[in-house]
């Protein structure tokens, strides 16, 4: 067949196709589709001919049989070409059968493992290796290798011997060197099977931009050339109109910069400019240079090197830059394309009169919408209100009673019907959700997911909701909406951030996301201040893997632990630690309503409860401050629950001599772990298993190497071994200089050397800034240690410690500070200490203590020179700690006035703290110390004040301290936070309020107030965006969409009181003295708690009312009729 023939037939074929598929295409321009069809035909012909030829070699062809076979094969081909060819054991299908080679047992297919996701690379590397080795004259003897689409993490290698395979992958990084396994012959062809390819992009398809200015924007494909990896898109332009007014030079410069960066839109920040239709007249007015051109597709404008057609930006970009899968345009977006088309048609009628004008795209945009709606299955839930649409009962409204597999059982809202049928069954397709104006709804899917608000308008296919998050009207599809009394917490996640993530707000502040509004995050930072931050401003998420800190009892707190706050405004609250930032805990308490339950406390104001195995102290451990190190260790470690691992405890009952050692704290006196302490877990023969204190590790050791430490021993001889518990030495150090100096000024100094290397590490960089001022901390004694030469041995240290009088609690707390682990702290570089540097001058500047820290545990024992160099840091360290000195009396002030000479080595951080005299007591804090340094709680001032106020309120309310842990509600179970109650006894009898909190002793905190109807007039008197207005929006229910007739009712007292300026009144009352507040008006969607009956305490949602009875859908899903008197309303937030 000649080339001319080919073209003829190809055209015929494509004509035939055209009738079915693309009737509107012009005939001159062969489209991709037509070419593809022609190609398939051609390949089929070539294949068929080849097959005939090969068959002819063996047999004389029976013409009838051949024709039959031809037909059969042709059918096969068509099927296959249509893409519906089901893989049925043959890899490549149909015609290959003729020549399909038999797999040979001589050379099996071996399966080898390789790095997931790098299969192709591994294969290419293997090829490269094969060629390289061949060049060296030792060729690889594998025959082939296959990287199959489906098998991730595997490659198949065809080779006669397994040794060849091993040799092939030997030394290659991307392969795992496990034993190759043979693939059964029957599965060989499956290895070569390929999946269905991605459907190529077509004109009219929706995609989203992946990067740059248009990131996330919807775009429509105008033309796609996958082979070249290019796609022409049309987008709603985002033009930088501001730059038009800039001076020409500036513009010129900008342009150059952009050119250097490549495709401009990709180098810009997402959504830097607003979306707007391209209007040539507008640009011209602003002084922009717009050129008008015309081509086969119609008129277009060139502005700023970009092409604009019908108001859209047409741009060519790489296919890699667009997201093609799972693109579902929202109502607004798709509408934008339609609306813009309409607008542009009005604005530029000329653009529309061309045959190839993008009106087919507009049609595509239009047609894609209902499709998207249909694809989405409606989800009905019990309690939903529905409208029957496709049935002879169309127009009937009802409430969903039950949902079965493909039937929805509804209760008709129609008296006569209801008399006959208590329920009716419909198919989901026959129903549509419906809403009433005033319903409180939440959005369950789509772009606005997570939002909530009141329905203010219901149209055929849209619901207009007044959003509580953005205070704006939102158009929604009914299927995306659900009746709910939940107040939207915003979205759970947006982009990479989700609720309760710890994020970096700016260089200094981190915060926890407490609410996600559409583009704005509400973030509570480490000082407890609430920020509203735009998504773009957040510089990143912070991981808190492995971050730990210490609680008031010096027990480790890690993320996920439950803590009890022992002081401060959140006193006695129990909460889960969500994040740790330095020594601030971001805790989450379900009972707390503000900030989605997140609050910030200082670690030392907390006690870990039910701590995870990682914590080293028991919750109940006496907080008698400062147990000596030896004291605490065994005390904390000994309890049996410490032994994790299976069945290890069972070994304890061995012969008495051996078991005598079990559970003893020992020091290891030899071997690689020499000097470490641990607990003996089990003993067998001469060996013992010792669980180290330092590492989470159990080692086998000879018993001879163990030295049992009795409690006495620990007090007298235990050494502070830094590797032992990296955190402790640092913690303790700061105490000693201050504590002991007054007593043994000269003697104390030598104590430090052992400790010194650690604490700089504990107070790296900015840490001192956040250092809370010690309450009873002794003043700095910077010079005290310096003059004393190092004479004492390390062994003396503990003795000194135990000799020290028990510290008051407050002091112990201050000691926690340096302990705060700081994962980002720079490591100590011994290089920075010049080895030959002279003995340091008597007093070192405070800056030294900011020396980058050594890694605890891996810190080398300081060489004598190094050690000497470091001792003075001890003295220097103290002043650094004393950034917020208190007025405690100081016996030692003297030498501190001697200005210290500069450090010989020069430290990185020394600039920060100029060599001024170390602060003396009473001196103002070092510059740079934030004001909050002086507060007992290093929280923001504002919050501080607020919290104190709250604390006072709470204290007033609670006459007696609340017992610690139990939250056993022996009280009536319906008394729950947020329930509206009436106080029936006591001085407040007769008043209504809302339960704020339950205490364990049967008391609860009630916020007095009353619900009240607010007249529209009251709204007019307050500014539209003022606190009252938003309070109304959040608390009330908007009954009518008309703002002038806006009526809000049923306001929880909190908002009412807040709005009008009188503070909320909190009282503490006995739960038995509470009765449910009478419910005056009922609204579907309200939440109530059942007060009587079997389900007492259950919360449900009101579906409807009937006189004194309400229909309540309980959380369990049951629906029940309930007497209004036996329910109490649960208010929103």
């Amino acid at each position: 067949m000649s080339a001319e023939d080919f073209f003829d037939t190809a055209e015929e074929a494509s004509d035939a196709e055209e009738e079915e598929e693309t009737p509107s295409k012009g005939e001159e321009v062969a489209t991709q589709d037509e070419l593809a069809v022609a190609q398939r035909e051609a390949i089929a012909r070539i294949d068929r001919r080849n097959r005939e030829r090969s068959l002819n070699q063996f047999e004389t062809l029976d013409p009838v049989k051949a024709a039959e076979e031809d037909e059969k094969r042709a059918a096969e081909w068509t099927q296959r070409l249509k893409g519906t060819y089901a893989a049925d054991g043959e890899a490549a299908g149909g015609l290959r059968l003729v020549r399909q080679p038999n797999p040979s047992v001589d050379s099996p297919l071996w399966m080898v493992k390789c790095k997931r996701g790098h299969e192709e690379e591994a294969l290419i590397c293997l090829m490269q290796k094969a060629l390289n080795l061949e060049a060296r004259g030792e060729p690889l003897l594998i025959k082939s290798a296959v990287c199959s689409e489906g098998a991730r993490g595997f490659l198949y290698i065809e080779a006669p011997k397994v040794d060849f395979v091993k040799k092939a992958i030997y030394g290659m990084e991307l392969f795992f060197h496990s034993k190759p396994s043979v693939v059964p012959i029957g599965e060989w062809t499956a290895v070569l099977r390929t999946g269905r390819e991605e459907t190529p992009l077509k004109r009219g398809d929706w995609v989203r931009m992946r990067r740059g200015l248009y990131k996330g924007d919807l775009a429509q494909v105008v033309d796609a050339d996958e082979q070249r990896g290019q796609v022409t898109l049309r987008l709603v332009p985002r033009l930088n109109l501001a730059s038009l007014t800039a001076s020409p030079e500036e513009r010129e410069r900008e342009k150059e910069e952009e050119k250097a960066k490549g495709f401009r839109a990709l180098s810009l920040k997402p959504h830097a400019f607003p979306q707007a239709m391209f209007k040539p007249t507008q640009i011209k007015e602003l002084g922009g240079n717009v050129e008008v051109h015309r081509d086969a597709y119609g008129e277009y404008y060139l502005f700023d090197d970009h092409e604009f057609r019908s108001g859209f930006l047409h741009t060519v970009t790489k296919i890699a830059n667009v997201q093609r899968n799972d693109v579902r345009p929202s109502v607004e977006e798709a509408r934008q394309f339609q609306v813009l088309v309409a607008e542009s048609a009005v604005a530029e009628p000329k653009a529309q009169d061309d045959q190839m004008a993008p009106d087919d795209l507009a049609k595509a945009a239009l047609s894609s919408l209902p499709k998207a709606a249909q694809q989405k299955m409606q989800i009905f839930e019990v309690g939903d209100k529905v409208l029957v649409v496709n049935s002879d009962l169309a127009g009937l409204r009802g409430g969903v009673l039950r949902v079965e597999s493909n039937k929805v059982i509804i209760k008709p809202f129609h008296k006569e019907l209801l008399a006959q049928f208590s329920s009716l069954a419909f198919e989901p397709m026959q129903l549509q959700k419906t809403f009433d104006v005033g319903d409180h709804v939440k959005v369950i899917s789509g772009v606005h997911k997570g939002d909530s608000g009141a329905v203010i308008e219901v149209e055929d296919n849209t619901v207009v909701m007044f959003s509580e998050l953005t205070n704006e009207n939102v158009d929604l599809r009914p299927q995306d909406v659900q009746i709910s009394s939940e107040t939207g917490t915003g979205m759970d996640s947006r982009g990479q951030f989700s609720l309760h993530d710890l994020v970096q707000i700016d260089a200094r502040n981190v915060g926890c996301i407490v609410k996600i509004e559409r583009d704005i995050f509400q973030v509570i930072d480490q000082t407890g201040t609430l920020h509203r931050v735009r998504a773009q401003e957040i510089s990143g998420k912070r991981s808190n893997r492995g971050v730990r800190t210490m609680d008031a009892n010096r027990a480790t707190i890690s993320v996920g632990d439950v803590v009890r706050v022992i002081e401060g405004p959140f006193k006695d609250r129990r909460a889960t630690v969500k994040h740790i930032h330095r020594f601030y805990l971001f805790c989450h308490s379900r009972e707390l309503m503000e900030h989605s339950g997140i609050f910030v406390v200082h670690a030392r104001s907390c006690q870990a409860q039910g701590s995870t195995p990682s914590s080293s102290a028991l919750p109940g451990a006496p907080s008698v401050a400062w147990p000596t190190q030896g004291d605490q260790k065994p005390g904390a470690m000994a309890p049996p629950p410490r032994s994790f691992g299976r069945g290890r405890g069972g070994r304890n009952n061995m012969d008495p001599e051996q078991s005598g050692l079990v559970q003893k704290t020992v020091r290891i006196t030899g071997g690689p772990n020499k000097g470490l302490m641990g607990i003996v877990k089990s003993v067998s023969g001469t060996m013992a298993r010792v669980e180290l204190h330092t590492k989470c590790k159990t080692v086998n050791l000879e018993r001879a190497l163990l030295f049992v430490i009795t409690k006495e021993d620990t007090e007298t001889t235990a050494r502070p071994l830094y590797p032992q518990t990296p955190t402790h030495p640092g913690m303790e150090t700061p105490v000693h200089p201050g504590m002991n100096t007054p007593v043994h000024p000269g003697m104390m100094t030598p104590v430090h050397p052992g400790m010194t290397p650690i604490h700089p590490g504990m107070t790296p960089g900015p840490a001192p800034f956040e250092m809370p001022a010690p309450i009873t901390r002794p003043p700095p004694t910077p010079a005290a240690p310096a003059p004393t030469p190092f004479v004492k041995k390390e062994e003396d240290v503990p003795r000194q410690w135990t000799a020290a009088p028990p510290q008051p609690r407050a002091a112990s707390r201050t000691c926690l500070i340096p302990d705060t682990p700081c994962p980002r702290a720079p490591r100590a570089t011994p290089r920075k200490l010049p080895p030959s540097s002279p003995l340091p001058p008597p007093s070192r500047p405070p800056a030294v203590s900011l020396n980058p820290p050594p890694t605890p545990g891996s810190y080398p024992m300081p060489s004598p020179a190094g050690a000497r160099l470091q001792y003075p840091e001890m003295g220097a360290y103290t002043p650094a700690m004393q950034l917020a000195p208190t007025s405690a009396p100081t016996p030692y002030v003297g030498p501190s006035s001697v200005p210290p000479p500069p450090t010989p080595g020069g430290y990185q951080f020394s600039q920060r703290y100029p060599y001024a005299a170390p602060p003396t007591p009473g001196a103002p804090p070092t510059p740079g110390t934030p004001a909050m340094g002086g507060y007992p709680y290093p929280l923001g001032q504002q919050l501080q004040a607020q919290l104190q106020q709250q604390a006072q309120l709470q204290q007033q309310a609670m006459s007696q301290p609340v017992p610690v842990p139990p939250l056993v509600a022996s009280v009536e179970t319906w008394v729950q936070p947020r329930v509206e109650v009436e106080v029936s006894a006591g001085s407040h009898a007769g008043q209504t309020g809302v339960v704020r909190e339950l205490f364990g002793d049967g008391k609860c905190q009630v916020q007095l107030g009353h619900t009240e109807e607010v007249r529209p007039a009251a709204l007019h008197t307050c500014p539209p965006h003022g606190p009252l207005a938003s309070a109304l929006f959040f608390a009330g229910r908007i009954l009518q969409p008309n703002p002038t007739a806006l009526a809000a009712h049923r306001m929880p007292s909190l908002h009412f009181a807040w709005g009008l300026g009188s503070g909320p009144q909190l009282i503490s009352v006995d739960a038995h003295a509470l009765t449910p507040a009478p419910i005056r008006d009922v609204h579907p969607g309200d939440r109530v708690v059942l007060v009587r009956g079997a389900d007492v305490g259950q919360i449900g949602t009101i579906m409807g009312s009937d006189g004194g009875q309400v229909i309540v859908r309980k959380e369990s899903g049951d629906v029940a009729m309930v007497d209004l008197a036996t329910a109490a309303r649960v208010v929103n937030a």
Binding site: I46, Y85, I142, C147, Q227
Partner: protein
């Protein structure tokens, strides 16, 4: 044994639409397709390379012994250069190339379902 060729990068890989050989765009421009240069004439012509090769392919194999490998036989790669090949490639050859192939009776096997 046949001489071999290997992609010199993991990026910008394209497969020849006639034989499925995978190389980088640059390699195709420099050396053409070792197997089918006589049909496609890629050497030195970037546009032609973009026309006759494709970045869309599925499944990759390594062919080290094209004459004795079952995989090679199964995929009709007997006698081809040693190298990396696509199991299936999707793309559209220029009509004149296709016509030429048809005239010579050469099947672009990797193109079986574009």
């Amino acid at each position: 044994m046949q001489p071999g060729v290997c992609p010199n990068s993991f990026k910008q890989l394209r497969a020849c639409l006639v034989c499925g050989l995978i190389k980088t765009t640059q390699q195709f421009v420099e050396n053409g397709c070792e197997n089918c240069e006589k049909y496609v004439h890629l050497s030195g012509d970037r546009e032609r390379v973009l026309d006759c090769t494709t970045p869309r392919y599925q499944g990759v194999i390594l062919l080290n012994d094209s004459n004795h490998s079952w995989v090679g036989k199964y995929l009709f790669l007997e006698g081809k250069y040693r190298g990396v090949y696509a199991i299936k490639a999707s793309g559209i050859l220029p009509p004149e190339v296709l016509g030429d192939l048809e005239a010579r009776g050469v099947t672009p096997h990797c193109l079986n379902a574009s």
